[in-house]
């Protein structure tokens, strides 16, 4: 290998980095604005009355799984990170002011195709959590996804963490521990 062999890969790397940095700098603000608008639209569906305004609140409680808290008229949407089967999962959970879960959606995950990925799309599984208030438990009032017990327990922990935030019981829920 000769030193001049390095010229082509280093030039390609720097050229790609320059293009990406340019795109990111030029369009970053637009991306953030569109993401915020889309986030508000989705969150509105997760609370009763479809509130249009959400304000982000600081969270200084003990539950390390709670990442962000958004408050609206009818309740809260809480972003929770939990340990799934194949890495961290991020969920948004809508909880009314009374502590009842009114909506949830999986926003990030790396779960297995055909098994844990159902946590994102399996409506019967997700609907079970609506109306719970921190007492959801797999094999008790929640039927796990077939072949994805770990993922189901992860979602359950996240939902319980979010409900506990509203009811004031948000001590560490173990949502960051694998299979709790």
């Amino acid at each position: 290998m000769r030193t001049k062999d390095l010229i082509a890969p280093v030039a390609a790397l720097l050229a790609a980095a320059a293009v990406l940095f340019g795109v990111s700098s030029a369009l970053g603000e637009t991306a953030r604005a569109r993401e915020e608008a889309a986030r508000t639209e989705i969150m509105a569906y997760m609370l009763p009355g479809r509130p249009a305004d959400f304000t982000q609140e600081d969270y200084d409680g003990e539950d390390e799984s709670i990442r962000r808290v958004f408050k609206a008229d009818g309740g809260y949407v809480i972003e929770v990170e939990t340990a799934g089967y194949a890495g961290p999962m991020v969920l948004w959970v809508g909880v009314t002011n009374g502590g009842e879960v009114s909506g949830l959606t999986v926003r990030q995950h790396g779960e297995t195709f055909g098994l844990g990925r159902g946590a994102q799309t399996d409506a019967p599984f997700l609907l079970q959590f609506l109306g719970t208030a921190g007492e959801a438990a797999v094999d008790e009032n929640i039927d796990a996804l077939t072949g994805a017990t770990v993922t189901s327990k992860a979602v359950t922990r996240a939902v319980n963490s979010a409900a506990a935030f509203v009811t004031g019981a948000d001590v560490s829920s173990g949502a960051t521990e694998w299979e709790g």
């Binding site: 062999d5 980095a17 990406l20 995950h109």
Partner: protein, 147 residues
């Protein structure tokens, strides 16, 4: 260029650059789409894609240990620098991406070259590069699941 032992790193920069560009643009046109994370299987998938393009491009020059080390270092630089420039490395330190990228691309180069030489039934074995890529990606996914 064709005889450059670091041609694979050029292709990796192109593949990772295009992937990062697609992810950055999806943040604008589909802001709420669930985008894949830059984790080990993703790094391996992009590495194997670059190696497969390289294999179909033409016979690669024999890989020496020094070329392998240089490819691994460049792979680390690609996986650290490009996602950071695209604003996609918010939750992972850049040095972690660099170390992981160097390890993944270095190992992928070594294993892909060794496996391809054994799988190819002759100088013209059109399915060998794609078959090697599939096998290596599936093995990597299994290993990542165990880790």
């Amino acid at each position: 260029m064709k005889n450059n032992p670091l041609k694979r790193s050029v292709l990796l920069a192109a593949v990772v650059g295009l992937a990062c560009l697609a992810l950055a643009l999806s943040g604008i046109f589909a802001p709420m789409a669930i985008r894949p994370r830059l984790d080990l299987p993703m790094m391996l998938g992009l590495s194997v894609l670059a190696l497969t393009i390289d294999a179909y491009w033409g016979p690669a020059p024999r890989l020496s240990w020094s070329a392998l080390a240089a490819n691994a270092a460049l792979g680390g630089a690609v996986f650290a620098l490009l996602p950071w420039c695209a604003g996609l490395a918010e939750n992972t330190p850049v040095w972690t991406l660099g170390l992981a990228g160097a390890a993944v691309f270095g190992l992928a180069c070594l294993l892909y070259t060794a496996a391809l030489e054994r799988i190819a039934t002759g100088p013209k074995a059109p399915l060998a590069p794609a078959g090697t890529a599939l096998m290596l990606y599936l093995a990597g996914q299994c290993l990542s699941g165990i880790l």
